[in-house]
């Protein structure tokens, strides 16, 4: 698999200056004597053999998202979810008897800054794990850093797949998990025969549409058009005319950012009534977060294929939504990625407890088959390829900006970042 062949990098942690190592050992020795007397938690020297920022009663992790710049819009929710999860874990007694402290860094929507800050988190702050990144570009930028210094990253966003790093746990869906079940559903339930694929012009929409096209063609159906607009494009009237000319049954949309708002407003204004289901809009990029900017009245009737919607009624989610609103305010909405970000600290806690250690190698070894029964989306499980088994759900957008769930897969969908036959 693409990036697993970097194994030799793992032992780089051993190259730390020997003076520091000695110092750390001395400190660890002193604290060891204390901790044995004070608490029942396992001794620091046992759970931390690689010089991470773990003391007798705290462990430090990193949060690395953009809080400034263009991506701040999207990443705010993830930061809030990660902080909430950490606070909840601390209230339950922490991890291995240690309270979690976090160092938050700003990636400033700038990829080298992400790389720079991840290097700081791993080298200076010696964090035990990092929750962060949102765009693929930021993840690609930090990936070599995490592999070189053997850190652990929990990455929340649904993304294009084609990647599998020993140093990343992908808590969002890879592309096939999001797309295939969604297309199967519109074909089966809505009798869709023709599709128009539209996306912003970058890697995620292009890869997603490629997978969608292969799948549609495998089903013997037809793609009548495929179009990409530059990021930040605000005029969609021409493509709307193409919809009217080609009359697709389904508009499969993966437009992102500010373009999203413009697209749905103009689609609605052009008299394409999404509640009439011809053409039907199936999106993989609009979560409840995005609807805030688009406005419920502009997208009502569209279908979204995600793994999580705020309106899920299972008891985990009811609790989660309540806690989230209590912590961050009543007006807040929770989208797919926010929930995936919330899973990060919990999955890490479970892996650490299974491993009985904060050491990254041991956490990694313990990660596959970690289960979480308390996830807001329901039951999830970590696949050996570091992605999550999860269900795919279809939501129908309502006027109030929430989705009504109209379908969910019976089984958990297996993550497959390198899907055979879809490349």
């Amino acid at each position: 698999m693409g990036t697993l062949d970097n194994a030799p990098l793992v032992d780089l942690g051993g190259r730390l200056p020997s003076l520091m190592k000695g110092l750390a050992a001395a400190v660890a020795g002193v604290t060891l004597a204390f901790s044995a007397a004070v608490s029942a938690a396992p001794a620091t020297s046992e759970v931390n053999t690689t010089d991470l920022a773990v003391t007798d009663d705290t462990v430090t992790v990193g949060i690395l998202h953009s809080v400034t710049g263009t991506m701040a819009i999207s990443e705010t929710g993830s930061v809030q979810a990660e902080k909430l999860a950490i606070e909840q874990i601390n209230a339950m007694g922490g991890v291995l008897g240690r309270q979690i402290e976090y160092v938050q860094e700003d990636g400033a929507s700038d990829w080298p800054t992400f790389a720079e800050k991840s290097r700081k988190l791993l080298l200076q702050d010696k964090v035990a794990s990092v929750f962060g990144c949102w765009t693929s570009a930021s993840r690609k930028a930090v990936l070599p850093v995490f592999e070189q210094y053997n850190g652990m990253l929990y990455y929340p966003t649904f993304y294009e797949g084609l990647e599998q790093s020993p140093n990343v746990i992908y808590t969002g869906q890879e592309a096939t998990q999001q797309i295939l079940a969604g297309i199967d559903w519109v074909v089966k339930e809505k009798g869709a025969k023709t599709f128009y694929l539209l996306g912003s012009d970058y890697i995620w929409p292009r890869t997603s549409n490629k997978i969608a096209r292969k799948h549609i063609e495998k089903l013997g159906l037809k793609v009548v058009g495929e179009d990409y607009y530059p990021l930040g494009h605000t005029q969609f009237n021409s493509v709307i005319n193409k919809f009217k000319l080609k009359k697709p049954d389904v508009i499969f949309a993966s437009v992102v950012g500010g373009s999203n708002v413009a697209f749905y407003k103009q689609l609605n204004a052009a008299g394409i009534d999404m509640t009439k289901e011809k053409p039907l809009v199936l999106t993989i990029s609009v979560t409840e977060d995005e609807i805030l900017g688009i406005g419920g009245e502009n997208i009502v009737g569209a279908y979204a294929s995600m793994k999580y919607f705020q309106s899920l009624t299972n008891s985990n989610n009811v609790e989660f939504v309540k806690a989230f609103k209590k912590r961050w305010g009543d007006d807040i909405v929770i989208g797919d990625v926010t929930q995936a970000a919330y899973l990060g600290p919990w999955l890490w806690k479970a892996a650490v407890e299974k491993a009985g250690s904060f050491d990254v190698d041991k956490v990694r070894a313990a990660s596959p088959d970690i289960e979480l029964t308390t996830a807001p989306e329901g039951y999830v499980k970590v696949h050996p390829n570091h992605h999550l088994w999860s269900k795919t759900r279809i939501g129908n957008a309502k006027l109030d900006g929430q989705y009504e769930i109209v379908y969910e897969t019976d089984e958990l969908i297996e993550p497959n970042p390198f899907p055979e036959g879809y490349q």
């Binding site: 930040g232 204004a269 009245e297």
Partner: protein
């Protein structure tokens, strides 16, 4: 690509595509008019133009909230109030900026570019602090939503008609102001010969301030109108800035007619190519086309004959 369609279907599609081009044209005109006044008449490059537009959009957002909270009965009419408030807010901020910053930089046009870029950063962060990093959703009154059905296929979005009417209205108003009013004469005389205009008793400092305020005010109105078709967030203004400058420069800086002609050319080129090509390529080709023409005709399409 067209083999499967009947002639009447094709005619309708072309009609609608032509209409899309006209909407794009109106959008460009609204974006560029304010800048054309500031850049063309005063030689100031206002990189914060997009942020003035977004100020108008946020004012619209606030107005809509106030109306739905306190006067739901009048909600249908809030948009007009919002546009007037947007004009006043953006215009007032513009005059403040002119007084505090721009008037010290009139002899250094490239420096106004940098200073206003700094201003745009400050405004962006200000919006983010006040309204949050997320985009806000502006609720439109019902009568602005949906479309008018003309034939089976031809449907015309109402907000498109509104934007077009607004673009035409503002252009006519500006033209009247510039070429028919006493104040317009003063502005043009200051542009052509500042010392002489001062010598005949025109208060040039005041004319400058009002001109800058007017340009920014129009940007505010444009931003207010764009809540119908685009996003309202701290960085949304950046989406418009390159297009806006190209329209103004392509048109020939000192000519309002040029700005309108250039908005028309660019919008038709872009909208036609978008229909036949992929969106990204259409954008690249449009920009290349504009750059190429500008290389052949650096003064833009229309320009004042000035002895250089």
């Amino acid at each position: 690509m067209f083999a499967d369609y009947t002639t009447s279907e094709l005619m309708s599609i072309f009609a609608m595509q032509g209409f899309s081009g006209l909407i794009l044209f109106s959008v460009f005109v609204l974006m560029a008019l304010g800048l054309a006044i500031i850049f063309g008449q005063m030689g100031v490059i206002n990189m914060a133009h997009g942020e003035f537009m977004i100020l108008g959009a946020y004012v619209t957002y606030l107005t809509s909230n106030v109306f739905s909270e306190y006067m739901p009965a009048l909600f249908g009419g809030y948009f007009f109030v919002a546009m007037i408030l947007a004009f006043i807010a953006a215009g007032a901020l513009g005059m403040l900026v002119e007084w505090a910053m721009i008037r010290h930089l009139y002899h250094r046009p490239l420096d106004t570019l940098l200073a206003t870029w700094g201003l745009s950063l400050i405004l962006q962060q200000l919006y983010r602090t006040i309204f949050g990093a997320r985009e806000v959703g502006v609720t439109l009154p019902d009568w602005l939503m949906g479309s008018v059905q003309i034939t089976d296929i031809i449907e015309v979005p109402i907000n498109g008609i509104f934007v077009m009417t607004l673009a035409v209205g503002i252009s006519v108003l500006i033209a009247a102001l510039m070429y028919r009013s006493r104040w317009g004469i003063q502005v043009r005389s200051v542009v052509q010969n500042r010392p002489m205009a001062g010598a005949v008793g025109i208060n040039t400092a005041r004319v400058d301030r009002l001109t800058f305020g007017l340009g920014c005010g129009i940007a505010g109105v444009a931003g207010s109108a764009f809540t119908m078709i685009g996003s309202t967030g701290p960085t949304s203004g950046q989406l418009y800035i390159v297009d806006t400058f190209l329209v103004v420069v392509f048109g020939g800086a000192a000519s309002l007619l040029g700005t309108i002609a250039s908005a028309f050319t660019i919008s038709q080129a872009q909208s036609t190519m978008e229909f036949f090509l992929s969106g990204s390529m259409a954008k690249v080709l449009t920009l290349l086309f504009v750059v190429f023409i500008l290389m052949l005709r650096p003064q833009g399409l229309f320009s004042l004959k000035v002895r250089r």
